[in-house]
């Protein structure tokens, strides 16, 4: 858990990569995912970098691969996915690979082109046969139904006669026939009419089967048309119109014999084409199958290669041009791993001079790396959503693991609901390796990623449910109530005692609607319930009043503890960043301010619980009044809690009042004093001792700077600050704003924690209403028909419980818990101004074939 408390220590390393081995080294680094590269060529535009040619080559390869995958998918060949991801290809293989791929592409394009051509040819021939078949019926129809139609004589009967007849008229009968898209028929006919002014006759019929369009490959309905026209001029126009509408025009046979002949010829050609096409397709399939085997490897390899060159583009080039210099952030724990990766890379490429690394001191803030596992990941995400922690800052995620589910459960306190949630989360956790869960839809995935949060939330809800003694709004009487009703009856007490107590007799029981149990009567209250709220409160009419008082006090107590804890964590931050003065001048005044007001409030609450019993409850003072009186100093001094209360409160008030100016002015004045004088011997000596403790790199830095700066650096911890000028006004303003925010925040944040009470109340009441409106109705029906009614009622109850109480209420409690953490807790100590460590790792590359690989 140590790694979760603070982010890892990082160091800036310079990698000297011999130009021959750079590629292999980066490949080894990418496989391990150890380091984050810094862009050293930020002001060089993307196409002027050194390895842009190589990147281009990778893109070319990618283009070919996309084409290959597209073809393979079109041929319905399954793409095998490799189990392991292959390493980036060695440079020697790249050229070979490129050649192979290019050859493959050329071949494929050739074959597909041929195939397409053949296919188009075939489709055209098929269209032609269809056309011939259909137009035959046109002519026949003319014979049958229009025997008197002279201008369009049936050609088969005696064409000779007609031709002579036409020549006499000075015009020639012409035919154009073909196929046209279904949608264009109407417009086509209209235009023919308009252009040719009726000198044409159009006959068309719908083709009963849909054919593929040779150009686009779409399967659509077609119309076969036959246009007969008079005269050459019109013929030209008709042809142009046919072109315009993309008709497929085929020569029209004038005689029956010709038609037969063409038909036969077509049939044989179609047969031939079929066989050729089959052979081509077989060959194509063979080629594609062979390609499909290696395509996954190739895709991954090219992706890795491209990533490597992108990283190499970030390196600067040595003057001698012999090596590349890369600057990387690396976690200190992984340095030896990094060295080994470099060695391995050098060994692989067989270079004589090994690549090496050098740790360089830096003033820049390193990125934040917090290693998580599947359990802590969800909680870290909650914190990161607010802001990635600054480098080496206390990471609230560690505490969030417990506080978050706990605060959630305070608002969601119901034994039954919590158990359902726990079961659901447990189901997710047990099946977490199930592939379908990993690739599930958005909402489901959200639940899946938060499964451990849900699990803890469910568990804690069970616990708070036990404390509240709520199970689907009903109490469970596990240990037997501590209250005894029979003791209230007058008959069970000796007559001597009757005078002091209000006891019950038969008439009171009969006539009053509400009866009150008096705990001061001996035997009525036999001691507290062992765990949580006594189940008898479930029957009481003043249950709400009792619970409200309890939950309100509980929320305030929890809130103040939570916030105080936040302030204490701030002390850890100051200790770590070696800003001890911050502890005395900021954290301690803050703590005093908080504890003297609100800590005392808690004390009063607890004291009142302990000091007053049922007998003395009549004289117990109101905490609210006492608390207000603490500030108002009323003239009539009635302090009721304990003796000497007045003096204690005065002292506390004075401490509070004193801590405010310290908070406002302490840090700025101290810094000013440091800046101007530093005359105090003690402080500067302590400074030196601290410096000695500091890490090596800082010492080496100190050599370059004068002591003054070194001192400041020690003060600030954050090294960027050293260069900044000392600006008193700015520091004062920041501190004043921070102090005002803190002092007001103490009050408003405490009030904010009352949402714990409000939400738990809302949850309890909602489930109570659901029970009263549904289940009670179902249970009241008499036994004979009750079963029939109870079943749908229970179903409805279950559905509403899940959707309203579990999902809706759960979501609202979840959001409020997040808010309490982000705002009330984290603003006490958490800066969250860091950047995330994003290592150069091949596992982060998305692979189209294996999306789940990238998560690993």
């Amino acid at each position: 858990m140590g790694s979760l408390f603070r982010s890892e220590t990082m160091c800036l390393a310079q990698l000297f990569l011999q130009s021959g081995t750079a590629y292999e080294c980066l490949s080894a680094l990418g496989e391990r995912g150890l380091v984050q590269f810094r862009d050293l060529n930020q002001n060089v535009s993307s196409f002027q970098r050194k390895f842009v040619g190589e990147v281009k080559r990778c893109e070319e390869l990618e283009r070919i691969l996309v084409y290959l995958v597209q073809e393979i998918n079109r041929a319905d060949i399954p793409l095998p996915e490799g189990e392991t991801s292959p390493p980036a290809p060695p440079l020697k293989q790249v050229l070979e690979m490129q050649e192979q791929l290019q050859k493959l592409e050329v071949e494929l394009r050739e074959v597909t082109k041929n195939k397409e051509k053949l296919r188009k040819n075939l489709l055209e021939l098929i269209e032609y046969t269809h056309m011939l078949r259909v137009t035959k019926t046109f002519v026949k129809r003319n014979v049958e139904f229009e025997p008197t139609y002279e201008e369009f004589p049936p050609l088969e009967n005696d064409s000779l006669l007609d031709y002579s007849c036409m020549q006499r008229l000075g015009a020639k009968l012409g035919f154009v026939s073909g196929l046209i898209h279904q949608g264009k028929v109407e417009a086509f006919e209209k235009m023919l009419w308009r252009v040719c002014k009726g000198y044409t006759i159009v006959t068309y019929a719908e083709l009963d089967e849909s054919l593929e369009d040779p150009e686009t490959g779409e399967v659509i309905k077609w119309y076969v048309f036959l246009i007969s026209f008079w005269g050459e001029q019109i013929g030209h126009k008709v042809k142009k119109i046919c072109d315009c509408y993309h008709c497929h025009v085929y020569p029209y046979p004038h005689t029956a014999e010709e038609r037969e002949e063409i038909q036969e010829g077509l049939n044989t050609r179609i047969q031939d084409l079929y066989t050729v096409l089959h052979k081509t397709e077989d060959y194509l399939r063979q080629v594609l199958c062979k390609a499909a085997e290696s395509v996954y490897t190739r895709v991954v390899q090219v992706k890795k290669m491209k990533a490597i060159y992108h990283m190499l583009n970030m390196c600067s080039i040595d003057v001698t041009n012999k090596c590349l210099i890369a600057e990387v952030w690396c976690p200190e724990a992984d340095l030896h791993e990094l060295r080994r990766a470099l060695e391995e890379g050098s060994r692989e490429s067989g270079a004589t001079i090994p690549s090496f690394m050098n740790i360089i001191p830096t003033k820049e803030t390193p990125p934040t790396l917090i290693r998580t596992n599947k359990f802590t990941e969800g909680f870290q995400n909650i914190v990161d959503a607010y802001g990635v922690g600054s480098y080496r800052e206390v990471n609230p995620a560690l505490f969030t693991i417990i506080t978050f589910p706990f605060l959630f459960a305070v608002m969601f306190g119901d034994f039954g609901h919590g158990f359902v949630m726990f079961l659901f989360a447990l189901l997710l956790v047990l099946n977490e390796n199930h592939p379908r869960l990993n690739q599930s839809q958005e909402i489901m995935r959200m639940f899946f990623h938060g499964r451990y949060i849900l699990l803890l939330m469910g568990l804690f809800s069970v616990y708070t449910g036990l404390i509240y003694n709520d199970c689907f709004s009903k109490s469970v009487n596990l240990f037997g109530s501590g209250w005894n009703v029979s003791a209230m009856f007058s008959s069970s007490h000796a007559p001597a005692e009757h005078k002091k107590m209000v006891l019950w007799n038969d008439s009171t029981v009969r006539h009053s609607r509400v009866l009150q149990l008096d705990p001061s009567v001996p035997g009525v209250f036999r001691g507290p319930y062992p765990l949580g709220i006594d189940p008898i409160w479930n029957l009481a009419t003043n249950r709400l009043t009792f619970l409200n008082s309890f939950k309100m006090k509980m929320s305030v107590i929890l809130g103040i503890i939570h916030m105080t804890f936040g302030v204490i964590l701030g002390i850890f931050n100051h200790l770590h960043f070696r800003k001890k003065f911050n502890i005395y001048l900021v954290s301690i005044p803050e703590l005093l301010f908080m504890l003297c007001i609100f800590g005392y409030l808690i004390f009063m609450i607890v004291y009142k619980w302990l000091a007053f019993s049922a007998e003395t409850s009549r004289v117990a003072p109101s905490i609210l009044i006492e608390f207000i009186n603490m500030f108002l100093f009323p003239a009539s001094e009635v302090y009721g809690l304990y003796t000497g209360q007045e003096h204690v409160q005065r002292v506390l008030l004075v401490v509070t009042a004193l801590s405010v100016p310290v908070l406002f002015l302490g840090k700025p004045l101290f810094l000013l004093w440091l800046h101007n004088g530093r005359s105090c011997f003690g402080v500067s000596r302590s400074g030196y001792t601290l410096v000695r403790k500091d890490s090596e790199e800082e010492v080496s830095l100190l050599g370059n700077q004068d002591i003054e700066e070194g001192h400041n650096q020690m003060e600030d911890g954050c090294r960027e600050m050293t260069c900044e000028e000392f600006n008193f006004g700015e520091i004062l303003m920041t501190q004043v704003i921070h102090s005002i925010e803190y002092c007001l925040g103490c009050i408003s944040n405490t009030a904010s924690y009352l949402r714990l009470w409000a939400l738990s109340l809302a949850h309890a009441q909602l489930s109570d209403v659901l029970w009263a409106m549904l289940m009670r109705v179902g249970l009241r029906v008499d036994t004979t028909y009750g079963v029939l009614l109870l079943l749908p009622v229970i179903a409805l109850f279950a559905v509403l419980t899940v959707f309203i109480l579990l999902i809706m209420e759960g979501l609202s409690a979840f959001l409020h818990a997040i808010r309490l953490h982000w705002v009330e807790f984290q603003n006490k100590f958490y800066v969250g101004a860091g950047t995330k460590f994003v290592p150069f790792s091949f596992s982060l590359l998305s692979s189209k074939f294996s999306k789940d690989d990238s998560v690993a």
Binding site: S45, S46, F47, Q48, V52, K56, E59, E60, R63, V66, Y67, K184, A187, K190, M191, R194, V195, K237, K240, I241, D243, C244, Y245
Partner: protein
Amino acid sequence: MLECSELYFNVDHGFLEGLVRGCKASLLTQQDYINLAQCETLEDLKIHLQTTDYGNFLANQTNPLTVSKIDTEMRKRLCREFYYFRNNSLEPLSTFFTYMTCSYMIDNVILLMNGALQKKSVKEILVKCHPLGRFTEMEAVNIAETPSDLFNAVLVETPLAPFFQDCMSENTLDELNIELLRNKLYKSYLEAFYKFCKNHGDVTAEVMCPILEFEADRRAFIITLNSFGTELSKEDRETLYPTIGKLCPEGLRLLAQAEDFDQMKRVADHYGVYKPLFEAVGGNGGKTLEDVFYEHEVQINVLAFNRQFHYGVFYAYVKLKEQEMRNIVWIAECISQRHRTKINSYIPIL
């Protein structure tokens, strides 16, 4: 009425307006142009365009990359966007879109007829046609021999039909007549579009009318400029001017009488809008009149985005995108012809 239409504008057109504003934000910035102008080869240009919103639209192009390939791909992209807008639009916005395509349709028809005149095949010309102005009947225009033929046979059912009222004639379509036909069509088109916007009222009218007025005046100037030294008579010339612009009517009459560039400039001097434009011609960097007009067009189109709830943004976006495409093509041409001195005379979109 004015307030009302703004209330329910978003019901019908809110999605598209939001979309077009998002698209406008993806126009190349000044920095992009500077980077583009630094490119050494078209490959560099491609790499840089990949970092912009164009994305890898050239990724599937086989080498070598040519300017015309870039141009076609960019046009395709614009077309895709435009058709998306159009397919999702409701009346009267869809009519507005139809009006927008009309100008491209006119250009295409004229291009095809010119091609037919030079005996080029339809396929060859089709490639050059602007995809936004494509329609089915287009390919049949070379059937017609006279404008009325063209109308009766081919275009009667297209959106262009109403613009033919002025140019029905039986003249054969030679080069001059085709040019006359284009200008007449354009004139009626602009006037009809203007009327449509005017009738629509609201902000659309307030934004679109100045844009169309400028377009009309620009045409008037260009017609005048192109007619110097041709056989076009002054009366004929006057009939070609669109009559909606700021120049109408006195300016147009004066323009009709102009005989050279200086006289034209004198006409423009009467108008506050056009005077500075004409003064900028030939000034720094040797700008042509066309460039100056383009710059002004970009300015008023950018202004259209300052108003809410109107259709002008769609028009302005398409025009700005076209300008951007012209810029990229210009830069690409300069790069491919190694003509770097003029590479910076593109017109940036602010």
